[in-house]
C-alpha cells in the first residue's frame, strides 16, 4: 500500500501545498497546520492526507498536541496558520459545509444530563438536518450498535462513564460522517466493550471512512490502525503504516548499525548481574526488573549469539534470551519519548 504520509509532507516548512497533489480518495488533508496558544505552539506545522479506508492512530504523551490537532480539524480550535480540507471543502472555525462530513468524539463527550438517551440523539439528528422519517430508525440502529438499546429511555445522568463514552460514539456516527475523529474513545470502556469497539472501528474503516483515533492503548491500535503517527511537542516524530513505524524500532544506532531491544531473563536473582551486563560491549540503555533485563544491542543474529555466549561465560543463569518483536511500544519508546502516560 502506498504510504499516505509522504515524508516531505510532514513538519517541513519548505513544502508546497498538498492540495494540488491530493489523491482523489483523499477525505482529509492538512497543509502546514499550526495551532498556537500565545507563545506556545501546540501543533507545529503538521501536514498529511488521509484517504478513504485509512485509520490513523495518533499516539504521544500528554501535552503532545493530539487533542488540539483533532479539535483544530473539527474547527473548535483556531489555526495560527495552515489549511485544512475535508472532502475538498476548506474547514476551520466557522466553516459550515465541512461539518456535515466530520464527526468528533472528545475524550469526555458533552451531553445534556437531563435528557434521555433517545431524546439526546434526536436533538443531534435535528442538528444535522437528517430526514425526519429516518431519525428514529437511525437512532435505534446506533443505540443497538453501541449496546445502549436498553438504556434508550433512561436519563443520561444515570449512565456510567463507559456508557456515556458509547453514547458519544453514537452521537458522532449518527449523521454518518465520512471523516471520524475519536479522542481517547476506549478510555472508559470495559474489556468486552473494547473488543466490540475495535470491531466497530474495523467496520467503519472497511466502509471507506477516514478515521483518526487518539489513544494510549498501543496494543489495541496495532490491531485496527492502518497508519500510526507518534506525536510529541506538537510535531509528528514518526509516521507511516503500522508495519513501517514498528520496523523503525529496529532503527540504526549512532554507529550506523541497526539495533533493537532484547529481553534477558535469569533463572534466579544475581546481585551483580546489572554491572556484568553493563560491561559487555555493545549493550546500551539497560533496564532491570529483578531477574528481567531489557537492553539495546545490534540487530544481527550472529552478534546476538556472541553476546549470549559472553553472558553465559560470565556464569549468569540464563533462562531466556530473545530480541523483542518490533512493535508500537518499541517504536514509541524509541521515538525519544520517555514519559509514558
Amino acid at each position: 500500500m502506498a504510504s499516505f504520509f509522504d515524508q516531505e509532507h510532514v513538519n517541513l516548512a519548505l513544502l508546497e501545498t498538498t492540495a494540488g497533489t491530493a489523491h482523489p480518495d483523499t477525505l482529509l488533508s492538512l497543509d502546514r497546520v499550526r495551532v498556537a496558544f500565545g507563545p506556545l505552539i501546540a501543533v507545529r506545522d503538521v501536514s498529511f492526507n488521509l484517504r478513504s479506508g485509512q485509520l490513523l492512530g495518533l499516539i504521544g504523551p500528554n501535552g503532545a498536541g493530539k487533542t488540539t490537532l483533532l479539535r483544530a480539524i473539527v474547527g473548535l480550535q483556531p489555526l495560527a496558520r495552515g489549511i485544512i480540507n475535508v472532502c475538498d471543502l476548506p474547514a476551520g472555525p466557522g466553516a459550515l459545509p465541512p461539518k456535515r462530513f466530520l464527526g468528533f468524539t472528545p475524550d469526555t463527550p458533552a451531553v445534556y444530563e437531563e435528557l434521555t438517551v433517545r431524546k439526546f440523539l434526536r436533538f443531534i439528528a435535528l442538528g444535522y438536518d437528517l430526514d425526519p422519517a429516518q431519525i428514529d430508525e437511525r437512532v435505534d440502529f446506533w443505540l443497538e450498535k453501541v449496546w445502549l438499546a436498553e438504556k434508550a429511555d433512561q436519563k443520561i445522568k444515570a449512565l456510567s462513564r463507559g456508557m456515556r463514552q458509547r453514547l458519544g460514539i453514537a452521537r458522532t456516527l449518527l449523521p454518518n460522517p465520512r471523516v471520524v475523529l475519536l479522542d481517547e474513545p476506549a478510555a472508559g470502556l470495559d474489556p468486552a466493550g473494547r473488543v466490540q469497539f475495535r470491531q466497530l472501528l474495523c467496520d467503519l474503516r472497511d466502509q471507506g471512512k477516514a478515521l483518526i483515533v487518539s489513544s494510549h492503548i498501543l496494543a489495541d491500535m496495532a490491531d485496527y490502525c492502518t497508519h500510526i503517527a507518534i506525536m510529541a511537542q506538537g510535531a509528528f516524530l514518526r509516521f507511516g503504516t503500522v508495519a513501517d513505524v514498528a520496523a523503525e524500532s529496529a532503527s540504526p544506532g549512532s554507529d550506523g548499525n541497526s539495533r533493537c531491544r532484547y529481553t534477558l531473563i535469569l533463572a534466579r536473582f544475581v546481585a551483580d548481574a546489572r554491572e556484568i551486563l553493563a560491561r559487555l560491549p555493545g549493550v546500551a540503555d539497560l533496564q532491570m526488573d529483578r531477574q528481567r533485563f531489557t537492553f539495546d544491542f545490534l540487530n544481527d543474529p550472529e552478534q546476538a549469539a556472541d553476546l549470549l555466549a559472553a553472558i553465559v561465560q560470565q556464569r549468569l543463569p540464563v533462562a531466556s534470551f530473545s530480541p523483542n518483536a518490533p512493535g508500537l511500544e518499541e517504536a514509541y519508546l524509541r521515538a525519544g519519548i520517555r514519559q509514558v502516560d
Partner: protein
C-alpha cells in the same frame, strides 16, 4: 423539518426538552392560567361593592406588571442561564460541531430557553384580553402595550445573550449597571438620551400610560421600536459571530461601524427630541442640552474604540499570517487608520445636534473634531501594539485610556485641595489634559486656553504611534545585542 417549525431548530428542541418538553410546558402554563384566572374571578365576585369593570381594569394593569416581570426578570435570567449552562458543560462545543447556521443557533437559544416564558406571557396576554374586555376598554389598549413590551423584551434578551457570549459575567455587569441606574434615580438616562430612547417603554410615555390613556403607537414609540430593532439586529449578528467563533471579536470593523452609526443616530434623535423622550419622573431635572450632548459624545468616543479595536486586531492578524507565510493568506483588512477616520466622522455626526443651540462655534467644532481624532488615534496605536503582541495587556490599555480621562481631574482636585486661596477654582487648565475635560472646556467655556490640552492629546497620539512603529526596530536591536555570535 419545516413542518415542525420552530422546533426543527435543534437548540430550541433541546432546551424545550430540558424544560420537560411540550407536556410539562402545557401543564405549567395551564396551572398558572387556572390559578390566576381563579384569583381574578374570586376577587371580582368577593367585592360586590366594587363595580366589576373597575376591578377588571385594575386586574388588567396588574397583569401588565406580571407581563413585565415575566418578560424582563424571568426572561433575562432564563436565557442567560441556558447559555451559561451550555458553556460550562461544553455542550456549546457540541453544538458548534453541527452544521447549524449561527443565527439559527442563537435564535434557538432565544426560542428554546424562553419557551416557558413565551407560553406564560401568551397565557397572561389572553387573560389580560379577557379582563380588558370585561372592563369595557378598547382591546387596543391592551394589545399595543403588550406588543411594545414584547419587542422591548426581545431586544433586552438579545442584549443579555450578547453580553453572555462576550463574557460569562457580562449579564451580571449589565444587572449591576441597571441597579446603579435605579439607585441614582435614573440620572444616567438624563445624560444619555440614546439610552433613554431605547428604554422608553419603561420611562417617559410608558406602556402603563399607553394602557391607561393611549391606544395606537405614536411617533415616539415608532422611533423607539425602530431603534430597538436596529440595535437588536446588530447585537444578534454579534452574538451569532461569537457563537460561531468564540475566539474572534463579536464585531468586525464594518459591523462595529454600523453599530456606532446606529448609536449615534439614536443619540442624536434623543438629544434633538428630548421633550418627547425625557423620563416622566424628575421632569424638572436640571440637565441641560449641552450636558446631554457632551456626555453622549464622550460615550460615543469610547464606543468608537470598538471598530478601531476590531480593525487593529484584524490588521495584526493579517500581518502575523503574512509573516508566517500562511498557505491560506487572509484578505487585507480595513486599515486601522481608515477605521479611525470613519469612527471619528461618525462620532462627530453628533455635532449638528449641538450646533442647533450653539451656532457660530466653528473653531470649537474644529477643536472638538481634533480632540476626537487624537483620542481615537491614541487608542488605535495602543491597541495595535497590544494586538501585535498577541492581545496580552488589553486590560492595561483600558486602564490607560481611563487614566487619561480621569487622572487630570483627580490631579486638579488634589491641587485645589492643597491650595490656601479661597477663590481658587476647583477645575483649572489641568483638566483640559483629559479628552473629557477638553470637551467640557471647549463647549462650556470658562475662558481657559484649550491649546495646551489639545497639544497634549496630539502628543499622546504621536507617542503611541512612535511606540508602535519604533517597537519592532528597538526589539530587533535588543535581539541582536543578546544573540550569540554566529560563526
Amino acid at each position: 423539518m419545516a413542518a415542525n417549525f420552530p422546533f426543527s431548530n435543534p437548540i430550541a428542541y433541546a432546551h424545550l426538552q430540558l424544560r420537560g418538553g411540550w407536556k410539562n410546558l402545557l401543564l405549567t402554563v395551564g396551572a398558572y392560567a387556572l390559578v390566576l384566572g381563579t384569583v381574578i374571578l374570586a376577587t371580582v365576585r368577593m367585592n360586590p361593592g366594587t363595580p366589576a369593570t373597575t376591578a377588571l381594569a385594575a386586574w388588567t394593569s396588574i397583569l401588565l406588571v406580571f407581563q413585565l416581570g415575566i418578560f424582563l426578570l424571568f426572561g433575562c435570567a432564563t436565557v442567560c442561564s441556558a447559555l451559561r449552562t451550555d458553556t460550562a458543560s461544553r455542550m456549546i462545543e457540541s453544538h458548534r460541531l453541527m452544521p447549524v447556521h449561527p443565527g439559527w443557533a442563537v435564535f434557538g437559544y432565544l426560542l428554546g430557553a424562553e419557551s416557558q416564558i413565551l407560553a406564560m406571557a401568551t397565557a397572561t396576554f389572553l387573560l389580560g384580553l379577557i379582563t380588558n374586555l370585561g372592563a369595557s376598554s378598547p382591546p387596543m389598549r391592551w394589545i399595543v402595550p403588550n406588543v411594545i413590551l414584547a419587542v422591548f423584551a426581545a431586544f433586552v434578551w438579545i442584549v443579555m445573550l450578547f453580553a453572555s457570549f462576550i463574557n460569562k459575567n457580562g449579564p451580571r455587569v449589565i444587572t449591576i449597571l441597571t441597579f446603579i441606574a435605579f439607585t441614582t434615580q435614573g440620572m444616567i438616562l438624563f445624560i444619555l438620551p440614546g439610552l433613554t430612547v431605547l428604554v422608553s417603554p419603561l420611562i417617559g410615555d410608558t406602556i402603563f400610560a399607553r394602557r391607561a390613556w393611549g391606544s395606537g403607537i405614536n411617533q415616539q414609540y415608532a422611533i423607539a421600536l425602530a431603534a430597538q430593532c436596529a440595535l437588536g439586529a446588530i447585537l444578534f449578528i454579534g452574538a451569532a459571530r461569537k457563537y460561531r467563533r468564540p475566539e474572534a471579536p463579536a464585531f468586525g470593523t464594518l459591523l462595529a461601524l454600523i453599530f456606532l452609526a446606529a448609536w449615534v443616530a439614536v443619540s442624536a434623535i434623543g438629544i434633538d427630541r428630548w421633550k418627547e423622550f425625557q423620563p416622566t419622573f424628575q421632569r424638572d431635572a436640571s440637565v441641560g442640552h449641552l450636558a446631554r450632548f457632551l456626555s453622549s459624545l464622550a460615550v460615543t468616543m469610547l464606543l468608537a474604540l470598538v471598530p478601531v479595536a476590531a480593525s487593529a486586531r484584524a490588521d495584526a492578524d493579517w500581518r502575523r499570517r503574512r509573516r508566517l507565510d500562511d498557505p491560506a493568506p487572509m484578505r487585507r483588512p480595513f486599515p486601522p487608520v481608515l477605521a479611525v477616520l470613519f469612527a471619528a466622522a461618525l462620532a462627530l455626526a453628533l455635532l449638528p445636534v449641538a450646533l442647533r443651540s450653539e451656532p457660530n462655534v466653528r473653531d470649537v467644532s474644529l477643536r472638538t473634531a481634533a480632540t476626537v481624532l487624537f483620542f481615537l488615534l491614541f487608542g488605535c496605536y495602543l491597541l495595535r501594539i497590544v494586538y501585535r503582541g498577541g492581545g496580552r495587556g488589553l486590560f492595561l490599555v483600558g486602564l490607560l485610556v481611563i487614566l487619561t480621562w480621569v487622572a487630570p481631574f483627580i490631579i486638579d482636585l488634589i491641587r485645589h485641595a492643597m491650595t490656601d486661596a479661597h477663590d481658587d477654582p476647583v477645575l483649572s487648565i489641568i483638566m483640559t489634559f483629559s479628552p473629557l475635560g477638553l470637551l467640557i472646556e471647549l463647549w462650556d467655556s470658562k475662558s481657559m486656553s484649550t491649546t495646551p490640552g489639545l497639544a497634549f492629546q496630539a502628543a499622546l497620539a504621536a507617542l503611541a504611534a512612535l511606540l508602535y512603529y519604533a517597537g519592532p526596530l528597538l526589539a530587533r536591536r535588543t535581539d541582536l545585542s543578546k544573540a550569540p555570535k554566529l560563526l
